[in-house]
């Protein structure tokens, strides 16, 4: 008598992977093995049925929206960022522009007889930069005030932008 098929061999047969001819012949002629095979067949048929859970139909759109946002980068991520940047620039300009009076500066510089620029160590030492800067900023409205105001306002805007990005847990796209 040929041995009956092992359980794993029956499963292999149902997976279409049993190649042993003697075993295949046995299976064809053996009612006992056929009976055991019959017990597996409904299970194998049912195993191809998908789980019932389905995501919302909007899943692809949600993913694509995130991808688009991902690609744009943090500063242009959405409307809020754009408003912050444009608003920040306007604020920075309106704060700094009143201080920008180049004609007055040139006149005051002439009166003060500021040294000519030659960018050497000696010149820098002679310039005695910081006390002179303090003195100048006390006496006249220099463009440096204007620049400092502009830079300060811009820094605040960038800081706010980064804080919002951080709070939202945004991750920039990996460079490829």
């Amino acid at each position: 008598m040929t041995d009956h098929l092992r359980d794993a061999e029956l499963q292999l047969y149902l997976d279409h992977q049993l190649a042993d001819r003697a075993k295949l012949d046995h299976l064809r002629g053996c009612p006992f093995c056929q009976e055991r095979l019959d017990a597996y067949e409904p299970l194998f048929a049912a195993l191809t049925s998908a789980p019932a859970w389905q995501p919302s139909p909007a899943l692809p759109e949600k993913v694509m929206r995130k991808i688009r946002r991902d690609t744009l980068g943090p500063l242009h991520e959405n409307l809020l960022h754009s408003i912050l940047i444009i608003g920040g620039l306007i604020m920075a300009l309106s704060l700094s522009l009143p201080y920008l009076r180049p004609a007055e500066y040139v006149e005051e510089a002439r009166k003060m007889r500021l040294p000519e620029i030659n960018l050497s160590w000696e010149w820098l030492r002679e310039l005695n930069f910081l006390p002179r800067l303090a003195e100048m900023s006390n006496r006249i409205a220099l463009p440096v005030n204007s620049i400092l105001m502009f830079a300060g306002a811009l820094l605040l805007v960038l800081l706010a932008d980064q804080l919002i990005t951080f709070a939202r847990g945004h991750q920039p796209p990996r460079s490829r």
Binding site: D3, H4, L5, R6, D7, A8, Q11, C30, P31, F32, E35, R36, D38, A39, Y40, E41, P42, L43, F44, A45, A46, L47, T48, S49, A50, P51, A52, W53, Q54, P55, S56, L59, P60, K62, V63, M64, K66, I67, R68, D70, T71, P173, R174, R176
Partner: protein
Amino acid sequence: MEERDDKTLIESILAGEQGDFALLLERYQKLVIHLVARMVPRASDREDLCQEIFLRIYRSLGEFQYKSRFSTWVAAVAHNTCINYLQKKRVPLYQDLAAGSEEEDEEVRRVEWVPATEASPLARAEAGDLRETLQREIEALPLHYRTILTLFHLEEMNYAEIGEITGLPEGTVKNYLFRARRVLRDRLTAHYPVEATS
């Protein structure tokens, strides 16, 4: 219109045509959904996880080396993301089923056949009801068994591909698959009452 293959789509996306990712997403949506549905017990977390998986696929598309089928790579990303999630949630990952069926197998090989007086209970079960009961029984299996059953029967992947995705040796994949199906057969047979045939 002619359908573009995966390689063409990937190259196009990497060249900046991000809209083409929608086509890949549509193509592999079912694979990801099936894996997430079978691996993650909490239904309320599944949708977010699906989104995360697709974003990971998009972000690391440039790392795909074309050494395997793209579906295998997608499944590996989905599998790893689910494992990370389950680890964070402290869900036990490595439960097992009792192996011991080898001796029983040896006994069966020598048995003398007596015609059955009862029809197979699974063959009599109504198909829809059987599928529903089966889904419940699959959910009760340990994680590796659920994953392997899904990849083999729903995604039609072979042992080598499943091994690549799960990080298990091919032989282990095969053993787990056989063991899972045997356990399911036994549990389903126990679920349906045996009726004597006239």
